[in-house]
Symmetry: C3
Subunit: 472 residues, 3 copies
Amino acid sequence: MNKNSSNIMALVPNTSNKRETVCIFGTGDFGRALGHKMIQSGYPVVYGSRSTQISNLIPKDAEVLGHAEAAQKAAVIIIAIQRQHYNFLTSLSQVLHGKVLVDISNNLKLKQYPESNAEYLAQLLPGSKVVKGFNTVSAWALQSGTLDASRQVFICGDDVEAKQMVMNIVHGLGLTPVDKGSLLAAQEIENYPLQLFPMWKFPIFLSLGLGLFFFFYSLALDVIHTYVYDNNNFSFFIAITIPNRVFPVLALTLFGLVYLPGIFAAIIQLYRGTKYRRFPDWLDRWMLARKQLGLIALAFASLHAVFTLVTPLRPYSSWRTSNRIISQVLNNETVSLNHTNAWLIDSYLAMGMLGLFLFVLLGITSLPSVSNSLNWREFRFIQSKVGYLALILCTAHTMIFGGKWFLNPSAYKWYLPDIYMLSLIVPCAVLVVKFVLIFPCVDKHLTRIRQGWERNPRYSEQSNHIINKSAV
Amino acid sequence: MNKNSSNIMALVPNTSNKRETVCIFGTGDFGRALGHKMIQSGYPVVYGSRSTQISNLIPKDAEVLGHAEAAQKAAVIIIAIQRQHYNFLTSLSQVLHGKVLVDISNNLKLKQYPESNAEYLAQLLPGSKVVKGFNTVSAWALQSGTLDASRQVFICGDDVEAKQMVMNIVHGLGLTPVDKGSLLAAQEIENYPLQLFPMWKFPIFLSLGLGLFFFFYSLALDVIHTYVYDNNNFSFFIAITIPNRVFPVLALTLFGLVYLPGIFAAIIQLYRGTKYRRFPDWLDRWMLARKQLGLIALAFASLHAVFTLVTPLRPYSSWRTSNRIISQVLNNETVSLNHTNAWLIDSYLAMGMLGLFLFVLLGITSLPSVSNSLNWREFRFIQSKVGYLALILCTAHTMIFGGKWFLNPSAYKWYLPDIYMLSLIVPCAVLVVKFVLIFPCVDKHLTRIRQGWERNPRYSEQSNHIINKSAV
Amino acid sequence: MNKNSSNIMALVPNTSNKRETVCIFGTGDFGRALGHKMIQSGYPVVYGSRSTQISNLIPKDAEVLGHAEAAQKAAVIIIAIQRQHYNFLTSLSQVLHGKVLVDISNNLKLKQYPESNAEYLAQLLPGSKVVKGFNTVSAWALQSGTLDASRQVFICGDDVEAKQMVMNIVHGLGLTPVDKGSLLAAQEIENYPLQLFPMWKFPIFLSLGLGLFFFFYSLALDVIHTYVYDNNNFSFFIAITIPNRVFPVLALTLFGLVYLPGIFAAIIQLYRGTKYRRFPDWLDRWMLARKQLGLIALAFASLHAVFTLVTPLRPYSSWRTSNRIISQVLNNETVSLNHTNAWLIDSYLAMGMLGLFLFVLLGITSLPSVSNSLNWREFRFIQSKVGYLALILCTAHTMIFGGKWFLNPSAYKWYLPDIYMLSLIVPCAVLVVKFVLIFPCVDKHLTRIRQGWERNPRYSEQSNHIINKSAV
């Protein structure tokens, strides 16, 4: 069918139940899977192939014809052949004129070719309307029906009506089309299935590195030191006690690293007196990684909470309780409650729990559907004001936990500070500088800079830019 | 207004604040609710009705005219009458020519009629443009303003401009239109409000059945047996102890059942030497239920975690602690820490917590918005690699919990194994076979099959399919 | 470019890689940020300005021309000037005829002007096609690349093709356009960034008020009373014990307030014998706040759960355990297990955990993506049936927790009931009335009313509405 009749098809109410015929060039694995799915959904399918041997795998209800014949029977043609063979299609450019060609190809690696496969196809066949689609759906998913993560089909193309026809077919297969714009988006769509959590790589490696460092630090100070000096074999600490020292230190440090780039950005802007010079690259990439750093910090904070809650179930804990009570009995002590201790411990427990609660709230607002339902002002309120409150509570939790112990020489084994003190470095730095930044004199200055004021405005008289009011 | 002027309306910028008139056929409950909502949102409404008695319930600002008169005042006509009366509209086909008819009907049960109501209407009035919409919104929600789950209005139709006009009205009412494609999607849209968790029925019944079985099994072995033989009345176990034995067994078994169909699929493919023969129906349905089985398993695992954490708050636990310490005091024992016990218990607690953490991560990636932000490769990484790691941790948690107890005859009351051993059946089977499947020789073979290789390729010479290269 | 050529641009496949030129009127902060972003994404940008002094901040690759000259070079013109200066554009109406004008303005407060800025612009320039967009994106986000909450760009306009051109540009910048309908939606889009959680203000203030009241109530009865009468200084209770009394009371009360308006609505409908009279305003607003009230209740219930689970880690708890065991040892008691106590405490713990679990399930179905995947029937099943089950479990948890203590005079300090009894007022009222409402006689009557039946139907003979069958 030529272009005119396909346009007429879209505009006249389809009073029959029959879906339109779709042509598929190529009888490889994906082409057959897509054909099966289409026939299942009621679309008559005709294959274009030049093979004399026809696999029995082609659906029984599908016709197999030559390319030119097959192309004439449909308005939409799925190009299920590899990019290397695209130039073969130029010999069919007459027949393919005005047809909608759907490029479903994927590459093996990023930047394999200078331009996207869909744009290459559009250059070879300028008379056809190329639409990119289906490359984010796998053959396995089409066949087995497990369509969870691939229910979305990204579509892009220059011609609006061609895109609409392809989107109708996607709907007809029970999938959800997502319009990504013009054919210039094809590069992004072709890169999409090749990624594996690109934004998460740096934060995860940073966390693993820091985690390993803290683990061995704690192993040295909490297990090896006591083994060497007190001859206690606490090797079982490796299962719960040491992780429960590493997790909170990691969590608090990463949480501080979420807010530190904002501090650096503010300092840089105050120093330069303008907001218009670009930040250094490392600061830009750090700012973009803040969400991932925060979610990893939340994960470690939650693990710390659970590892703390199982303390009463541990043999070590029952052993210490038994020892304590037995010695109290044998010494015939009247047990009195140390009120200072009760205040301190209850306080840091309460602050830890409230801090974690606010932290979880931050995490919930990071979910895509929740953050999409907030406007920019609401999102900043949560991530900034509620976030700083959570940071304050978690830092206070750690400081009260330490209490006056940092004054005690036994907190410094081998002249190294206890691991909880390491966790306070980043968040305290952040909170102290932030406290300075919210003083009215500093804050007013920074707000002016962020609204466009510049200490050294940069203007120039450019004669070729002079506008005569009369020309307006 | 006829078709030409309605098209002109869409293309000329609407410089007045007045929204276009909408006509509603039918003054029943939903028709009146929709009319109220439209007048509230600024759309003038004219009803088409043949009743001489006009209910006071019709909004004051709405006109009531005869059908033919009313139809001429609007471009969009909501058909708020029952399907049985659609044939009455054929007498108005002249007036309705070129109008946009919105079919809002719902049926009482699935497959009540051979074709969808919207397609039936389109057959009766081929000159009009039928759009399906509004049937997923309830009258109650329109009136009371609680629009949570029905903010989405599914729309489908063959004519793109007609759909756009209806979508504009939906926007105008403060609802969110969702385009579902051509009129062939009407069947699915009409079925949508009739479902009640269709994908969840089988997994929930399976869980209830297994749960009841495990509950009575544990009741017999943990409460009745000790009552019969040791004369201890532990009936209060029914509140927390027995649920806390049933939940983890259910969770681990269901978790294993999530990965078992994948194992069967791999075995079947290796046995047949091809991936192109369809799986048995039961396997297909099992594969589609995996997400629901996994979420139910996660729910039971979370309940198990919480039921375990409250152990120290239970009188039974304080009673056992008191007895233990008192006997230690009275026997003047020096309490030493059993290091092996400390290692074992800390280890299985740690594994349980890490396994649950990864399990929760799997659950979070099942949320629609999160799974839509992952591509197929990322989704498989999480569900497959992270999922198997979680399964290994949870199985190890259970095996270490058992420890050497399975060698102890007292673990077998009435010659039946303790309930925790039942939970190991499915996951161990899955992990053992999976371990075999990842051996390089087996894995390479399976990967080849999944990329399209066949042990017995099935080709045929089909003369009516022979292509002449010259015909290309 | 005039209208015809811009239309031709959209319909002909774009075979070159070059994106179309965009014109920006205005060189203020947002205009420059948007220009930078567009040049980064490959769109040639030309500014229209009458300033003779050109800031160095204008991107180097951008041209700066007079307004009329600049307008002729592009089909899409971003109007990045303030509303006060819009009337200046009428002098350019000839040049701007047929162009797509994008209104990106924001106001400082709600209802600052009688009509939206976009509609005002459309009135001034009726020959142009006005599209509203980009006002929900901040300059800071465009510059720094942190596009989390502003990835969505709300678009609305009367002309479908103009909207499509703007949506393509939005895609090209890597943002996600969301179509909000015709230009009548501009008011809502302009209000959107000005809101700060409008639906949450009332529920949060209510919770804070109730929370303060319960806090001082508990402080008086649990800390001050025992200090006055028993001379115990339990001031450290403020950290964990008193919050852990206030949180559950708040949670249960707010949870009851979620279901109370539904009860009132049913009573009102039964009393009036019809569903067609509007509810009082306060009831309507209460019904709309139910989701927020429920989520706040869930937050407090979760905090209560965590604050309870840390009990064994508190010094107060170890002190009481030590005292108990030591007195048992010194009195040479054989410790027997109080079975009634074991049943009671295990039961209320179990009910509390199951109630919280169902409550969390309700919260998960409130997430936007999850509630959008449920139809109305499924959503009501969860929120109504599962919700009432959760309310029953939480109320039973509190009643069993109290046990027979309400019969004990010492539960009434200063003649005031213990705080847990206050929490039972609202939920018990709800459950009792709901129990009455589900009796078959009452339920049948209410269902009839909800399907449209009226005790006193209100009909009128209205002669100007009388339809002659012959006119049909």
